[in-house]
Symmetry: D2
Subunit: 140 residues, 4 copies
């Protein structure tokens, strides 16, 4: 319970700006990669979710910038699920370099019908698939 | 008092994702363009601020996604200053297509000494320069 | 005959890399923006071409890097059509800062049926639409 | 002799465009990642080259687009050195999905003095470091 899903990436040259550090907008793209990788662990792939008839759209994002990351550094990206509502899922994201925090934040996605884009209830198989990465509700 | 600074951009093809809409991380880059353009209006340019001995780093970002934007659409980007603290500035961002809201959000930047990256007090000329785009403190 | 279509863009902060200059891959995205703007001048919009039943896919690109461009600089993007074959169009791109060349290059696109992605002959209305920006065949 | 340096990447969601395929400009960024990884294999890292007093700037790029790549696909990126001149290096790039070619191309970089950006002769240790990935001159 509560363990985050983790993976590693290496900072690309084109992701760094004139200050020599990762340009802030790329961290939101890194959060998106967390969703892709968590979905792979939970459901096989993002496409596998689509194939079962639901999609997600992002509704809210928050990012806390703690320290810069630089070209060619290896970053650890960690993601866990902090809340599964009726139609929305809240994920917590931590990006660090070794033990040093770089960026923390959260994303809220809404489940939708891919044809109508109308909100739809989170299917039971999604809840089961994400359960291993759910933060303990009694210990948030 | 309180009027936002506004400018227009057109959505580029490469900014749209496989859902045919602007990929979420690009909105954070659009907020960054708001800072560049507000700084131009307030100080002449971002470089003019650097030339006077201070820089800014982003500390926090929040984005509320209201509706998608599509390739080739013209978007209006609006930014105003909601708080000027001792060392940090909070800006409010609204992106809309015509009168339709697309993304709202905020950025918090901290003023730093460009050599040491240590926090530094916001200079008086920065407060004067940003005053025309300050939201009324008594009417936030 | 032979006048290029021109428009201006301003270099964004996030487009510059740790060397403080525009990251090379963005120039290929700038060439793509040239196509979008030339298509707007020639056909109303890229979408208008799709609505008439053809699409284009890029087949080849070449870029010659002459000088760096920096954050906040205004660049002039120029594009003309150097060859219209049976199914492919070759465009010439020049990016400059004032009179100083920054990047030159070319793109070759192939016209396709949007449903099958099979090559398709360039329609006569495309030839007419692009004619004002055709380089003189006798004086390439 | 002549074996390319290879590594793998996975296509990110934000790298795909409204046609559902990797946006063309990202392939030039993938070529740039090839340089980063080849340099790591040859010299320890890009930074290790800078620490020894030389830098490189891109002078020319060519890309041949053979087939589209899609979100979440794994791509193999291969790079080899086809020519080492007095001051410039030509690299050949092949991107494929399994055995299917996606994009081929080349980059030409010039070695420069990082302080003056003037062209500088390729050091002997660079020639030695890149030798394992040199295409056979007698069999180009």
């Amino acid at each position: 319970m509560g363990r985050p899903f983790e993976h590693q990436i290496r900072v690309r040259y084109g992701e760094c700006d004139a200050q020599g550090v990762v340009f802030n907008a790329h961290y939101l793209a890194f959060f998106d990669m967390n969703i892709t990788e968590l979905w792979r662990a939970a459901f096989g792939s993002y496409q596998a979710m689509l194939d079962r008839g639901v999609d997600i759209v992002v509704a809210h994002a928050e990012l806390q910038f703690r320290a810069p990351a630089r070209f060619d550094e290896e970053l650890t990206l960690a993601v866990s699920v902090s809340r599964l509502g009726t139609t929305s899922v809240l994920t917590e994201h931590r990006i660090r370099r070794g033990e040093h925090p770089v960026v923390d934040g959260s994303l809220r996605h809404v489940f939708v019908d891919p044809r109508t884009l109308a909100k739809t209830a989170i299917p039971e198989w999604v809840r089961r698939g994400l359960a291993p990465w759910m933060l303990d509700a009694s210990n948030p």
